[in-house]
Amino acid sequence: MTDLTRLTAAELAEKIHSREVSAAEVTQAHLDRIAEVDESVHAFLHVDAEGALAAARAVDGALDSGAAPVSSLAGVPLALKDVLTTRGIPTTCGSRTLEGWIPPYDATVTRRLREAGLPILGKTNMDEFAMGSSTENSAFGPTRNPWDHSRVPGGSGGGSSASLAAFEAPLAIGTDTGGSIRQPGAVTGTVGVKPTYGGVSRYGLVAFSSSLDQAGPCARTVLDAALLHEVIAGYDPMDSTSINAAVPPVVAAAREGLRGDLTGIKVGVVKELGGEGYQAGVQRSFEAAVEQLRALGAEVVEVSCPNFGYALPAYYLIAPSECSSNLARFDAMRYGLRVSDDGSRSAEEVMSLTREAGFGPEVKRRIMLGTYALSSGYYDAYYGSAQKVRTLIRRDFDAAFERVDVLVSPTTPTTAFKIGERVDDPLAMYLSDICSIPSNLAGNAAMSVPSGLSDSDGLPVGLQIMAPALADDRLYRVGAAYEAAREPVLDRLPELKGAV
């Protein structure tokens, strides 16, 4: 019998809907795989075997009774980043401060997944409150890259991408504030998409930086990502920044792309995202990818986005500023951790002691950085200037998209780095997101799709594709065409062992 964990979500859905296999069998196969390998990968913070199987059996029951599948992915299980609230299932955001918290409500994304019949296998590991690029900032220990257990799986959504690369789940949900879907996708050899800001509801997504956060699909193929995108996207009146417009035709675009013809598509190579500071293997992989796009019929031109060099500094002002405010609610009063409440201390003292104990160093660092950037004397020079840079970045994108349909760059300058290598050097860590951040600042859509292995170290590299806001379908058209022209990267994944 085929190993169910090796199939794509589209294949699984087809087998489930044709009753060749049951959703429960598929779910069980993945739960077994988790039990087998997750001790070494540590992609999951919480596995909800019972809930997942119950959801799978509900899908099977409906199909058995002759009902049509409730969605294109009904019965296909998935892994959910632990930053989205799940009623009745712990949600920790990788933080001590929320250890054991069981939300009394579902995020809109969670609700849509449940309604579409996707069993939730569990909650995936992440950098604490999504702050990081390596998943080492999780209070519950790092996730390991399935390609090399001594390396990081990227971050903040390292757990989601690693669960895909380790075949623990066929689909996963991530969130991307500065690259947290795309960069882990790149370094694990999987696909990750940051939809247009406002395309997927943020209701129930525990906020890191509200104006940048966006949930999106993670998968092993572009088509799978498109199918998942369609399930979670769409207008939500509970999120004021949700766009009230039709979801771009992403699935149709992916299918169109799979035909392998990019004639008529204009691709812009961003001059500023590459060259110095980029690993040679990454750079070569990117150049080969560009050649491949040309071979598929695309017209390729170089495009300059002169302000992209200011994106990283702007991001490291805006995101910490917003996070300093968003994380103020973790104060030991209404939920979450409370320490030192011995009856002698005031609420103020207990707040400060709990926040000190509940947050890790990166979170504290960003809270203090944001507090500083918003202070009355510094606001204009820091936060205000960063918001101006954001305007400039958007203008760069607007000008570029006047000339081309999509922009491309490497997703991240290097392949997966070693665990521990950058933890004490925040600035070096921040460089991981240098290519992905502009799209968060401007709100447009972007994808990372595997572009083979780096000839420097044999580790996966990602190709980033960027499209204008609300033109997410272009990512899928180009991404699927490119993917179809290449050998699947994950076929070269070394066999995972049960334990390190």
Binding site: S211, A332, D341, A347, E348, E356, S375, A386
Partner: protein
């Protein structure tokens, strides 16, 4: 430009309600200084006439109807509380005042 002192870090920590240790004060002072140095670069291009972008998508006037929606039950509301009493969240004595 910035040269952030231990005292300033202590002040920030107080504003942010973080009871940081002395050791952290030193570490954070050094790191914040370094980061602020790097991010101050935004000032190079932030000219007077450039508008600030606070929102990634240019939406306006998103309103909700004034219609009552279901609430959480008291039990659900208090389900995550570190301590509760008489249907309320129980917290240590409050010293400060409302603003």
């Amino acid at each position: 430009m910035p040269n952030i002192s231990r005292e300033e870090v202590a002040h920030l920590a107080k504003l942010a309600r973080l009871a940081v240790t002395d050791k952290e004060l030193d570490v954070f002072a050094g790191q914040l200084d370094e980061i602020l140095d790097a991010v101050a670069k935004v000032g190079e291009v932030a000219a007077e006439d450039i508008p600030q972008t606070s929102h990634a998508v240019p939406l306006t006037n998103v309103f909700r109807d004034d219609a009552v929606q279901p609430c959480l039950s008291q039990e659900e509301a208090l389900s995550g509380a570190p301590a509760a009493e008489d249907g309320r969240f129980r917290v240590p004595r409050i010293l400060g005042e409302e603003q």
